[in-house]
Amino acid sequence: MDNYRNVENGFRRYKAHISIAGTTQFHIRNPYVIAWWSAAFPGFGHLLLSKYLRGLSLFIWEVIVNSNAKINLAMVHSFCGNIEAAKEVLEPRWMLMYIPVYLFGIWDSYRTSVDMNKVYLLAEKEGAPFNSFAIGAMEINYLDKRQPAMSVIWSLFMPGLGQLHIHRLLTAFFALTWTILFIYFSKLLLSVHYLFLGQITESTAVLDIQWLLFMPSMWGFAAYDSYINTVENNKLFNNEQKEFLINHYQDRSFHVKKGKVEV
Protein backbone atom coordinates (compact mmCIF):
# COMPACT_ATOMS: atom_id res chain seq x y z
CA MET A 1 0.00 0.00 0.00
CA ASP A 2 1.29 3.40 -0.95
CA ASN A 3 0.15 6.86 0.13
CA TYR A 4 0.26 8.16 -3.43
CA ARG A 5 -0.64 6.42 -6.65
CA ASN A 6 0.39 7.93 -9.90
CA VAL A 7 -2.68 7.01 -11.94
CA GLU A 8 -2.97 10.02 -14.21
CA ASN A 9 0.76 10.24 -14.87
CA GLY A 10 0.11 13.95 -15.18
CA PHE A 11 3.59 15.15 -14.33
CA ARG A 12 6.74 15.08 -16.39
CA ARG A 13 9.34 14.36 -13.69
CA TYR A 14 9.32 13.01 -10.16
CA LYS A 15 12.18 13.68 -7.77
CA ALA A 16 11.78 10.68 -5.48
CA HIS A 17 10.05 7.36 -5.00
CA ILE A 18 9.69 5.34 -1.84
CA SER A 19 9.14 1.66 -2.45
CA ILE A 20 9.45 -1.59 -0.55
CA ALA A 21 12.99 -2.01 -1.94
CA GLY A 22 14.25 1.40 -0.90
CA THR A 23 14.19 5.16 -1.14
CA THR A 24 15.18 6.31 -4.62
CA GLN A 25 15.77 9.96 -5.31
CA PHE A 26 17.36 12.48 -7.60
CA HIS A 27 19.80 14.83 -5.92
CA ILE A 28 22.76 16.94 -6.95
CA ARG A 29 25.97 14.98 -7.34
CA ASN A 30 29.50 15.89 -8.21
CA PRO A 31 30.12 14.13 -11.56
CA TYR A 32 33.85 13.83 -10.86
CA VAL A 33 33.19 11.98 -7.60
CA ILE A 34 30.84 9.58 -9.41
CA ALA A 35 33.43 9.08 -12.18
CA TRP A 36 36.08 8.35 -9.55
CA TRP A 37 33.99 5.57 -7.98
CA SER A 38 33.55 4.05 -11.43
CA ALA A 39 37.33 4.12 -11.79
CA ALA A 40 37.81 2.50 -8.37
CA PHE A 41 35.44 -0.29 -9.34
CA PRO A 42 33.31 -0.37 -12.51
CA GLY A 43 29.65 -0.26 -11.51
CA PHE A 44 30.05 1.73 -8.28
CA GLY A 45 29.37 5.05 -10.02
CA HIS A 46 26.13 3.69 -11.43
CA LEU A 47 25.10 2.17 -8.11
CA LEU A 48 25.56 5.59 -6.49
CA LEU A 49 23.18 6.97 -9.11
CA SER A 50 20.62 4.24 -8.21
CA LYS A 51 21.08 2.67 -11.65
CA TYR A 52 21.21 -0.84 -10.27
CA LEU A 53 20.96 -2.93 -13.43
CA ARG A 54 23.75 -1.06 -15.19
CA GLY A 55 25.81 -0.98 -12.02
CA LEU A 56 25.46 -4.68 -11.31
CA SER A 57 26.19 -5.65 -14.93
CA LEU A 58 29.40 -3.63 -14.84
CA PHE A 59 30.33 -4.94 -11.41
CA ILE A 60 29.94 -8.60 -12.35
CA TRP A 61 31.76 -7.93 -15.61
CA GLU A 62 34.64 -6.42 -13.64
CA VAL A 63 34.94 -9.38 -11.26
CA ILE A 64 34.95 -11.91 -14.11
CA VAL A 65 37.37 -10.11 -16.44
CA ASN A 66 39.68 -8.83 -13.69
CA SER A 67 39.93 -12.28 -12.12
CA ASN A 68 40.77 -13.91 -15.43
CA ALA A 69 43.09 -11.20 -16.72
CA LYS A 70 44.75 -10.98 -13.24
CA ILE A 71 44.66 -7.18 -13.27
CA ASN A 72 44.78 -6.91 -9.47
CA LEU A 73 47.77 -9.22 -9.25
CA ALA A 74 49.59 -7.26 -11.95
CA MET A 75 48.79 -4.04 -10.07
CA VAL A 76 50.40 -5.31 -6.88
CA HIS A 77 53.49 -6.45 -8.78
CA SER A 78 53.71 -3.07 -10.54
CA PHE A 79 53.37 -1.10 -7.30
CA CYS A 80 56.12 -3.26 -5.80
CA GLY A 81 58.35 -2.53 -8.79
CA ASN A 82 58.32 -6.08 -10.17
CA ILE A 83 57.43 -5.10 -13.73
CA GLU A 84 58.60 -8.45 -15.08
CA ALA A 85 56.32 -10.31 -12.67
CA ALA A 86 53.45 -8.07 -13.72
CA LYS A 87 54.02 -8.85 -17.39
CA GLU A 88 54.27 -12.53 -16.57
CA VAL A 89 51.03 -12.73 -14.68
CA LEU A 90 48.74 -10.76 -17.04
CA GLU A 91 46.59 -12.94 -19.27
CA PRO A 92 46.57 -11.51 -22.82
CA ARG A 93 43.43 -13.43 -23.80
CA TRP A 94 41.45 -11.37 -21.28
CA MET A 95 43.48 -8.21 -20.65
CA LEU A 96 42.58 -6.10 -23.68
CA MET A 97 38.90 -6.80 -23.10
CA TYR A 98 39.23 -4.91 -19.82
CA ILE A 99 40.11 -1.51 -21.24
CA PRO A 100 37.06 -0.38 -23.27
CA VAL A 101 34.44 -1.43 -20.72
CA TYR A 102 36.46 0.08 -17.86
CA LEU A 103 36.62 3.42 -19.66
CA PHE A 104 32.97 3.19 -20.66
CA GLY A 105 31.98 2.79 -17.00
CA ILE A 106 33.81 5.99 -16.05
CA TRP A 107 32.59 7.99 -19.01
CA ASP A 108 28.99 6.82 -18.81
CA SER A 109 28.61 7.44 -15.08
CA TYR A 110 30.09 10.94 -15.48
CA ARG A 111 27.75 11.75 -18.35
CA THR A 112 24.74 10.30 -16.52
CA SER A 113 25.35 12.31 -13.36
CA VAL A 114 25.59 15.54 -15.35
CA ASP A 115 22.27 14.64 -16.97
CA MET A 116 20.65 13.60 -13.73
CA ASN A 117 21.64 16.86 -12.07
CA LYS A 118 19.67 18.68 -14.75
CA VAL A 119 16.71 16.36 -14.32
CA TYR A 120 16.84 17.00 -10.56
CA LEU A 121 16.63 20.76 -11.06
CA LEU A 122 13.63 20.35 -13.37
CA ALA A 123 11.90 17.84 -11.07
CA GLU A 124 12.50 20.08 -8.05
CA LYS A 125 10.96 23.03 -9.90
CA GLU A 126 7.95 21.00 -11.07
CA GLY A 127 7.31 19.80 -7.50
CA ALA A 128 5.25 16.73 -8.46
CA PRO A 129 3.84 14.68 -5.58
CA PHE A 130 5.58 11.38 -4.92
CA ASN A 131 5.01 8.26 -2.92
CA SER A 132 6.54 8.64 0.54
CA PHE A 133 5.17 5.61 2.37
CA ALA A 134 5.08 1.96 1.41
CA ILE A 135 3.81 -1.02 3.33
CA GLY A 136 3.41 -4.54 1.99
CA ALA A 137 3.52 -8.17 3.03
CA MET A 138 7.31 -8.30 2.82
CA GLU A 139 8.55 -4.90 3.95
CA ILE A 140 7.81 -1.40 5.21
CA ASN A 141 9.55 1.75 4.04
CA TYR A 142 8.88 5.39 4.84
CA LEU A 143 10.70 8.70 4.98
CA ASP A 144 12.64 9.12 8.18
CA LYS A 145 15.79 10.72 9.56
CA ARG A 146 18.84 8.64 10.39
CA GLN A 147 22.28 9.38 11.84
CA PRO A 148 24.83 9.57 8.96
CA ALA A 149 27.73 8.59 11.24
CA MET A 150 25.99 5.29 12.11
CA SER A 151 25.78 4.38 8.42
CA VAL A 152 29.54 4.83 8.08
CA ILE A 153 30.37 2.86 11.22
CA TRP A 154 28.23 -0.12 10.22
CA SER A 155 29.59 -0.02 6.67
CA LEU A 156 33.13 -0.25 8.02
CA PHE A 157 32.25 -3.28 10.13
CA MET A 158 30.61 -4.99 7.17
CA PRO A 159 29.91 -3.38 3.79
CA GLY A 160 26.13 -3.52 3.26
CA LEU A 161 25.04 -2.90 6.85
CA GLY A 162 25.09 0.87 6.33
CA GLN A 163 22.74 0.37 3.40
CA LEU A 164 20.46 -1.84 5.52
CA HIS A 165 20.41 0.96 8.10
CA ILE A 166 18.82 3.31 5.55
CA HIS A 167 16.73 0.64 3.79
CA ARG A 168 18.68 0.54 0.55
CA LEU A 169 18.00 -3.13 0.11
CA LEU A 170 19.42 -3.75 -3.37
CA THR A 171 22.84 -2.26 -2.62
CA ALA A 172 22.80 -3.89 0.82
CA PHE A 173 22.18 -7.38 -0.55
CA PHE A 174 24.74 -6.95 -3.29
CA ALA A 175 27.42 -5.52 -0.99
CA LEU A 176 26.90 -8.20 1.67
CA THR A 177 27.04 -11.05 -0.84
CA TRP A 178 30.16 -9.88 -2.63
CA THR A 179 31.95 -8.99 0.59
CA ILE A 180 31.47 -12.56 1.81
CA LEU A 181 33.01 -13.89 -1.42
CA PHE A 182 35.91 -11.42 -1.44
CA ILE A 183 36.75 -11.93 2.23
CA TYR A 184 36.52 -15.70 1.99
CA PHE A 185 38.61 -16.14 -1.15
CA SER A 186 41.21 -13.53 -0.15
CA LYS A 187 41.70 -15.36 3.21
CA LEU A 188 41.69 -11.89 4.78
CA LEU A 189 40.39 -12.99 8.17
CA LEU A 190 43.00 -15.75 8.35
CA SER A 191 45.61 -13.07 7.75
CA VAL A 192 44.15 -10.88 10.51
CA HIS A 193 44.20 -13.90 12.78
CA TYR A 194 47.96 -14.31 12.18
CA LEU A 195 48.44 -10.60 12.81
CA PHE A 196 46.86 -10.95 16.23
CA LEU A 197 49.30 -13.77 16.91
CA GLY A 198 52.14 -11.47 15.84
CA GLN A 199 53.15 -13.60 12.85
CA ILE A 200 53.46 -10.96 10.13
CA THR A 201 55.23 -13.15 7.57
CA GLU A 202 52.58 -15.88 7.72
CA SER A 203 49.92 -13.20 7.71
CA THR A 204 51.22 -11.80 4.40
CA ALA A 205 51.89 -15.19 2.84
CA VAL A 206 48.40 -16.53 3.37
CA LEU A 207 46.66 -13.69 1.48
CA ASP A 208 45.30 -14.21 -2.04
CA ILE A 209 46.29 -10.94 -3.71
CA GLN A 210 43.90 -11.15 -6.65
CA TRP A 211 40.83 -11.36 -4.38
CA LEU A 212 42.13 -9.08 -1.63
CA LEU A 213 42.44 -6.07 -3.91
CA PHE A 214 38.68 -5.96 -4.47
CA MET A 215 38.12 -5.14 -0.80
CA PRO A 216 39.49 -1.58 -0.37
CA SER A 217 37.10 -0.24 -3.00
CA MET A 218 34.25 -2.24 -1.50
CA TRP A 219 34.78 -0.69 1.92
CA GLY A 220 35.24 2.82 0.60
CA PHE A 221 32.19 2.59 -1.60
CA ALA A 222 29.94 1.07 1.07
CA ALA A 223 30.83 3.80 3.57
CA TYR A 224 30.50 6.63 1.06
CA ASP A 225 27.26 5.39 -0.53
CA SER A 226 25.49 4.83 2.79
CA TYR A 227 26.74 8.17 4.13
CA ILE A 228 25.62 10.40 1.28
CA ASN A 229 22.31 8.60 0.95
CA THR A 230 21.58 9.00 4.66
CA VAL A 231 22.22 12.72 4.30
CA GLU A 232 20.06 12.96 1.18
CA ASN A 233 17.24 10.92 2.73
CA ASN A 234 17.25 13.28 5.72
CA LYS A 235 17.03 16.27 3.41
CA LEU A 236 14.17 14.63 1.52
CA PHE A 237 12.35 14.08 4.82
CA ASN A 238 12.73 17.79 5.69
CA ASN A 239 11.48 18.94 2.31
CA GLU A 240 8.52 16.59 2.31
CA GLN A 241 7.52 17.71 5.80
CA LYS A 242 7.91 21.35 4.84
CA GLU A 243 5.51 20.82 1.93
CA PHE A 244 3.06 18.97 4.18
CA LEU A 245 3.04 21.77 6.77
CA ILE A 246 2.50 24.44 4.14
CA ASN A 247 -0.37 22.50 2.61
CA HIS A 248 -2.13 21.54 5.83
CA TYR A 249 -1.28 24.05 8.53
CA GLN A 250 -1.56 27.46 6.96
CA ASP A 251 -5.24 28.36 7.20
CA ARG A 252 -6.14 31.72 5.65
CA SER A 253 -8.31 32.69 8.60
CA PHE A 254 -5.44 32.43 11.08
CA HIS A 255 -4.40 35.81 12.44
CA VAL A 256 -1.31 36.40 14.47
CA LYS A 257 -2.26 37.92 17.82
CA LYS A 258 -0.92 41.27 18.83
CA GLY A 259 -0.32 41.06 22.55
CA LYS A 260 2.31 40.59 25.18
CA VAL A 261 4.40 37.58 26.04
CA GLU A 262 3.25 36.15 29.35
CA VAL A 263 6.30 35.63 31.53
Binding site: Q147, L213, P216, Q241, Y249, G259
Partner: protein
Protein backbone atom coordinates in the same frame (compact mmCIF):
# COMPACT_ATOMS: atom_id res chain seq x y z
CA UNK B 1 -7.96 33.34 23.30
CA UNK B 2 -4.19 33.06 23.66
CA UNK B 3 -1.56 32.20 21.11
CA UNK B 4 1.38 29.95 21.78
CA UNK B 5 4.51 30.29 19.69
CA UNK B 6 7.09 27.51 19.52
CA UNK B 7 10.03 26.37 17.43
CA UNK B 8 10.94 22.87 16.25
CA UNK B 9 13.31 21.06 13.96
CA UNK B 10 11.90 18.92 11.16
CA UNK B 11 11.19 15.52 12.70
CA UNK B 12 8.54 12.88 13.20
CA UNK B 13 8.06 14.33 16.70
CA UNK B 14 6.71 17.53 15.18
CA UNK B 15 3.97 15.60 13.38
CA UNK B 16 3.23 13.63 16.53
CA UNK B 17 2.82 16.94 18.38
CA UNK B 18 0.33 18.13 15.74
CA UNK B 19 -1.66 14.89 16.01
CA UNK B 20 -1.79 15.07 19.81
CA UNK B 21 -2.83 18.72 19.69
CA UNK B 22 -5.70 17.91 17.35
CA UNK B 23 -6.72 15.01 19.59
CA UNK B 24 -6.89 17.51 22.47
CA UNK B 25 -9.41 19.62 20.64
CA UNK B 26 -7.21 22.15 18.85
CA UNK B 27 -8.64 22.60 15.36
CA UNK B 28 -6.41 22.47 12.33
CA UNK B 29 -7.41 26.04 11.44
CA UNK B 30 -5.93 27.21 14.73
CA UNK B 31 -2.51 25.77 14.02
CA UNK B 32 -0.15 27.69 11.79
CA UNK B 33 3.22 26.25 10.77
CA UNK B 34 6.00 28.30 9.22
CA UNK B 35 8.89 26.24 7.82
CA UNK B 36 12.04 28.38 7.75
CA UNK B 37 14.92 28.63 5.35
CA UNK B 38 17.97 28.33 7.58
CA UNK B 39 20.96 30.64 7.63
CA UNK B 40 24.14 29.14 6.43
CA UNK B 41 27.54 29.14 8.05
CA UNK B 42 30.82 27.27 7.73
CA UNK B 43 31.13 23.86 6.17
CA UNK B 44 31.60 20.97 8.55
CA UNK B 45 33.45 17.68 8.28
CA UNK B 46 30.41 15.48 8.89
CA UNK B 47 26.72 16.10 8.43
CA UNK B 48 24.55 15.26 11.41
CA UNK B 49 20.94 14.10 11.71
CA UNK B 50 19.93 17.68 12.61
CA UNK B 51 21.40 19.36 9.61
CA UNK B 52 23.18 18.52 6.44
CA UNK B 53 24.26 20.41 3.41
CA UNK B 54 25.21 17.22 1.62
CA UNK B 55 28.56 18.59 0.50
CA UNK B 56 30.55 17.83 3.60
CA UNK B 57 34.26 17.26 3.50
CA UNK B 58 34.32 13.49 3.17
CA UNK B 59 33.89 13.06 -0.60
CA UNK B 60 37.54 13.59 -1.49
CA UNK B 61 38.60 11.85 1.73
CA UNK B 62 36.64 8.71 0.85
CA UNK B 63 37.96 8.73 -2.72
CA UNK B 64 41.62 9.23 -1.79
CA UNK B 65 41.32 6.88 1.18
CA UNK B 66 40.23 4.10 -1.16
CA UNK B 67 42.95 4.88 -3.69
CA UNK B 68 45.69 4.94 -1.06
CA UNK B 69 44.33 1.74 0.51
CA UNK B 70 44.84 -0.09 -2.79
CA UNK B 71 48.37 1.23 -3.21
CA UNK B 72 49.20 0.70 0.47
CA UNK B 73 47.96 -2.88 0.48
CA UNK B 74 49.85 -3.60 -2.75
CA UNK B 75 53.17 -2.16 -1.63
CA UNK B 76 52.61 -3.80 1.76
CA UNK B 77 53.43 -7.18 0.24
CA UNK B 78 57.02 -5.93 -0.05
CA UNK B 79 57.23 -4.09 3.28
CA UNK B 80 57.93 -5.49 6.72
CA UNK B 81 54.52 -4.56 8.14
CA UNK B 82 52.56 -6.52 5.55
CA UNK B 83 49.57 -5.57 3.39
CA UNK B 84 46.92 -5.17 6.09
CA UNK B 85 48.73 -2.58 8.22
CA UNK B 86 50.06 -0.79 5.13
CA UNK B 87 46.55 -0.79 3.63
CA UNK B 88 45.10 0.72 6.80
CA UNK B 89 47.89 3.31 6.96
CA UNK B 90 47.26 4.13 3.29
CA UNK B 91 43.54 4.57 3.99
CA UNK B 92 44.15 6.98 6.87
CA UNK B 93 46.77 8.99 4.99
CA UNK B 94 44.49 9.20 1.91
CA UNK B 95 41.46 10.19 3.96
CA UNK B 96 43.31 12.90 5.89
CA UNK B 97 44.92 14.19 2.71
CA UNK B 98 41.50 14.35 1.00
CA UNK B 99 39.97 16.23 3.92
CA UNK B 100 42.89 18.67 3.89
CA UNK B 101 42.48 19.29 0.17
CA UNK B 102 38.76 19.98 0.65
CA UNK B 103 39.41 22.17 3.68
CA UNK B 104 41.94 24.19 1.72
CA UNK B 105 39.60 24.43 -1.26
CA UNK B 106 36.56 25.55 0.69
CA UNK B 107 38.24 27.68 3.35
CA UNK B 108 40.90 29.42 1.29
CA UNK B 109 39.93 29.30 -2.36
CA UNK B 110 36.16 29.27 -2.24
CA UNK B 111 34.82 30.82 0.93
CA UNK B 112 31.20 29.85 1.18
CA UNK B 113 28.60 29.98 3.90
CA UNK B 114 26.92 26.76 4.87
CA UNK B 115 24.26 25.64 7.33
CA UNK B 116 24.48 26.58 10.98
CA UNK B 117 26.12 24.26 13.47
CA UNK B 118 24.16 22.10 15.91
CA UNK B 119 20.40 22.02 16.16
CA UNK B 120 18.48 24.63 14.22
CA UNK B 121 14.97 25.93 14.65
CA UNK B 122 13.52 24.88 11.33
CA UNK B 123 9.80 25.39 11.93
CA UNK B 124 7.82 28.03 13.84
CA UNK B 125 4.55 26.67 15.16
CA UNK B 126 1.73 29.01 16.20
CA UNK B 127 -1.26 27.65 18.12
CA UNK B 128 -4.39 29.54 19.05
CA UNK B 129 -6.39 28.16 21.97
CA UNK B 130 -8.56 29.02 24.96
CA UNK B 131 -6.73 30.21 28.04
CA UNK B 132 -7.64 27.00 29.96
CA UNK B 133 -6.04 24.84 27.29
CA UNK B 134 -2.79 26.76 27.18
CA UNK B 135 -1.00 24.69 29.82
CA UNK B 136 -1.93 21.42 28.10
CA UNK B 137 -0.78 22.77 24.75
CA UNK B 138 2.57 23.85 26.16
CA UNK B 139 3.00 20.48 27.86
CA UNK B 140 2.40 18.73 24.53
CA UNK B 141 4.90 20.96 22.75
CA UNK B 142 7.61 20.40 25.39
CA UNK B 143 6.90 16.70 25.42
CA UNK B 144 7.60 16.56 21.68
CA UNK B 145 10.93 18.36 21.92
CA UNK B 146 10.03 21.95 21.13
CA UNK B 147 13.13 24.14 21.34
CA UNK B 148 11.21 26.97 22.97
CA UNK B 149 7.69 28.25 23.58
CA UNK B 150 6.09 31.59 24.36
CA UNK B 151 2.54 32.51 25.32
CA UNK B 152 0.95 35.68 23.92
CA UNK B 153 -2.02 37.03 25.88
Amino acid sequence: MVQIFSTFEHSTNLELALTVLEKNGIHKENIFAVPLTNRKTERRLFDSIHNADGISLISTGAALGTAFAVVGASVGFKLAWGPIFCGLIGTSVGFILGVCIDLFYYKVIKKQQRLLRGKNSEVILLIECEEEQADTVEDILWHHYAFGTARIV
